[in-house]
Amino acid sequence: MKKTLALLLAAVMLLSLSAVSLAEEKVAITMWTYPIGAWKDADTVNGIVAAFNEKYPNISVSVEYLDYQSGDDQVTGAIEAGTTPDIIMEGPERLVSNWGAKGKMVDLADLWTEEALKDISAVSEAVVAACQLDGKYYEYPLCMTTHTMAINYEAFEKADALKYLDQDTRTWTTENFELAMKALKDSGVAHTGIVYCGGQGGDQGTRALAMNLYSASFTNPEHTEYTMNSEAGIKGLQKLQDMVNEGLLTADPGIVAGDELQLFANGTANMSLAWNAANAANYASQAQFTPYAMAFPSDDGVPELAGGIWGFGIFNNNDEKRIAAAKEFIKFVSDDPVQGPKSVFATGFFPVRASFGDIYTGTEKEANKEFSVFMPYLGDYYSVTPNWPVQRTEWWNLLQRIFAGGDVKAEVETYINNVNVK
């Protein structure tokens, strides 16, 4: 075993040394992308691949596009059939804590050069932490964003509720949030906001809301345990239950974020809990009002927002040539000073590298800058805690039980019992 490992290592070193021979040999690699901004559009991605091939004509890249509905099943199938792609584009909860933890991914430590580490750390240490597990890097990040909420600006104006929010920092306190909901309700609005809990789609929104109301932490800092049974956590969930009972919020166990966004866009609901730059762009043409991005309300006025970190991972297909070629592609797409910002621009999110600076000013996506104000509120990336897929299901089940009138404290204990690894 040791011998083969040593041999393998030697082979890797030989290969990486002979980059020249790599350039001469033709290598075909495949990449699967989840729908991250325009990375779901063949036109955009073909352009990126073409730019890559100008520099590396001997590496051909074929791309397949996944979706969030069926993508995980497809990857599961590919892993079991041994037909995984070389490169996969998604976030740490899949690349690191799912497939990485299961030993299916390649350690990307050599992509994380000192320069990259410094550049990325300058934006957020949380990104660096999220991309690794037990000292191995399973993701090389490209872009990030914060998940926020949004309000119907005109509806708030009409209800005279704008005074409850701080339009400079886009934040509000829990107290003011409640007042704003009362004002909205009094103005005759049927649904202020809808706390959706019919499935896992967009659950980061409901988590962020429940957490921030009283500044609870979703997990412990080491990401080994879920902690919504803290006093602050229970208080936040209790507040949600109370507000729903008073009609200040609507709870709906029949819909998920995608439906809620639709209801927000057509004016049925006056807030969305699942907002970000990509959704703002998607719904821009439908909304007959101004969707105005806001941070989640927090008792101390300092929100902690959930982040999305997207980047690349490499499946271990035991083919050193293809792994090396895949790394070249990732380096080019993420690090190249010309291509890098373009790759991020396609996502509609923000660069994880400080050196890329502001990529939206003066472009057709200028509107995305609205979201840069939230970057300082980026919170801990807790989605890498063990048992994450179980937690996601248990979370919306917990909300369903609470909104059906369950005792908050008891229900939270049940939830914690089901999700923490014993």
């Binding site: 397949e64 979706d67 509905q69 059939a81 041994g82 789609g201 719904y283």
Partner: protein
């Protein structure tokens, strides 16, 4: 005139009224899909139902064609057509044998066939996936076709149809000196023709809709089927209903055509009276 009036009983009227109401409910989804495929985003997401596209657009179809929807359709047609052909041959032979041939372990084999139907497909998919990939068939259309042909529904259906073939006819043919193959082709096949027609349609449609098997077996846009392709049009955070409706309409049309073609076979009755006269 008199006779037709007599036939209209209250029961019949009630039946037809009920049938009509149900027909509306059953037709509605397809109506909504077809009209929806011509609606723009405003109309399709409107809070109050827009019953008919007032200013129809075709951009939904144009956008659908940008994806290789036609090649998805061709893949699906190949899978369904091939599965249909193979299953009609194998199941008709096997169904006839189980119903009419007294070979050893016949009852046991039939029970295994029925038991196998009871097992949920999802359970065998992971082992099947390993087997298919071992055979080097993963991500080929055969990876979907072979398991579909193996599924025992067809044998069960054809056994039920073959039960109705009178033994006396078979006996008469045998005495006339016809061989087994000749008997099967000249006597059995025409008698179970309605069954084959039904089996052909059921296979075609269930293969068409067997989304999960296709999803796990097919990996590239080149090999996708229309159901996988359409499912992929759904986004987690943003549903482009117009595009999905266009895809669904495109997927439904070929099956309706197949249905119209094959359903003629159904009523061609089994000639049970052949030896009686």
């Amino acid at each position: 005139m008199q006779t037709t009036v007599q036939r209209i009983t209250p029961y019949r009227v009630l039946s037809y009224v009920m049938l009509f109401i149900l027909a509306v409910i059953f037709t509605f989804p397809l109506y909504w899909i077809v009209t929806g495929s011509f609606k723009d985003a405003q109309a399709i997401n409107a809070p109050a139902p827009v019953w008919f596209p007032t200013n129809p657009i075709t951009t939904n179809y144009a956008r659908l064609m940008e994806r290789p929807a036609i090649s998805w359709l061709l893949n699906t047609l190949f899978i369904c057509g091939m599965a249909m052909l193979l299953i009609c041959i194998t199941a008709t032979m096997a169904g006839y044998a189980i119903a009419k041939k007294r070979f050893a372990c016949r009852a046991l084999i039939f029970s295994i066939f029925v038991m196998a139907m009871a097992l949920p497909k999802q359970v065998i998919l992971i082992p099947l996936l390993k087997e298919i990939s071992f055979l080097g068939l993963h991500n080929t259309l055969w990876a979907v076709i072979f398991p579909t042909v193996g599924w025992p529904f067809g044998v069960f259906l054809m056994k039920q149809f073959s039960e109705n073939i009178p033994g006396s006819i078979l006996e008469a043919t045998r005495i006339d000196g016809a061989g087994e193959v000749q008997t099967f082709i000249q006597i059995v096949l025409p008698m179970v023709a309605p069954g084959i027609g039904a089996l052909a349609i059921f296979t075609f449609i269930s293969a068409w809709n067997d989304y999960f098997l296709q999803l796990l077996m097919l990996n590239t846009a080149r090999t996708y089927t229309i159901s996988v392709g359409i499912a992929k049009l759904q986004d987690e955070m943003f549903t482009d209903f117009g595009l999905i409706m266009a895809g669904a309409a495109l997927a439904a049309i070929p099956i309706v055509v197949v249905f119209l073609m094959f359903q003629r076979f159904f009523t061609r009755g089994i000639t049970m009276g052949a030896v009686k006269g």
